[in-house]
């Protein structure tokens, strides 16, 4: 079985400060990893994904994430946030060999303070 934990439900951060949104997962099989962002009244938009290869993945809007297999983590980072980054962020995993479904965390609400 797979599960995803996003420990921080809300993260306030000042504009231009760095941010890290944490994601840990538990899985009995190997997984692909994803981060999605949801802006108000919009759908989930893919930020980045890890399928294989380099463990440091760069995505859109200046975000990056690092896959750490030993710690089963996939934390999302941005060195300098903007007001426009205020949104809900979801971490998700998907087994590499079985099924189509994504397993999501509960989400982290990022609020960028001017």
């Amino acid at each position: 079985a797979q599960s995803v934990t996003q420990l921080d439900s809300q993260v306030p951060v000042f504009e231009e400060a760095p941010v890290e949104l944490r994601c840990n997962y538990s899985s009995s099989v190997s997984v692909y990893l994803f981060w999605y962002v949801q802006y108000p009244n919009q759908g989930l938009q893919l930020l980045l994904k890890y399928l294989s290869g380099s463990t440091l993945v760069k995505g859109i809007n200046g975000f990056e994430a690092e896959f750490n297999k030993s710690q089963t983590s996939f934390h999302l980072r941005k060195p300098s946030v903007h007001i426009s980054d205020t949104a809900e962020y979801f971490c998700a995993v998907r087994p590499t060999n079985t099924g189509n479904q994504f397993y999501f965390g509960t989400g982290t609400s990022l609020t960028v303070i001017p």
Binding site: G43, Q45, L46, F90, Q101, F102, T106, G107
Partner: protein
């Protein structure tokens, strides 16, 4: 950029009534999905659909639920007799392929059962 659309954005219904949630996936995509998110909880997988049949479903997707692709563009989720606990945000998603492929999500339909 092509996107997944969903209608309506908000549906209010009485307990026991049937509802149909509609989705228009991205036109060249072959795999379709429904997820739901109860307020404050995780985004949960309901069902995946490929080649005009269900390819995978979760334990949430019981006999009260059904999916259909009535024509070449729409993908619908029907709840036959709604219950209070069906109140949630329902997301439709589509992908070109399976496995590590990105699922593109719509903005969601908020279903409120009274």
């Amino acid at each position: 950029e092509p996107e997944v659309t969903q209608t309506p954005s908000h549906q209010v219904t009485q307990m026991g009534q049937e509802v149909i949630l509609r989705c228009v996936p991205i036109s060249n995509h072959l795999y379709f999905y429904w997820y739901r998110q109860i307020l404050g909880q995780k985004v949960e997988f309901l069902v995946s659909f490929y080649n005009n049949e269900i390819s995978e479903k979760s334990e949430i997707f019981d006999d009260q639920f059904s999916v259909e692709r009535p024509d070449g563009s729409n993908f619908t989720l029907k709840i036959r007799s709604t219950k209070l606990e069906d109140s949630a945000m329902y997301f439709c998603a589509s992908s070109e392929a399976t496995r590590g492929d990105t699922q593109y999500f719509g903005p969601g339909t908020r279903l409120t059962v009274l």
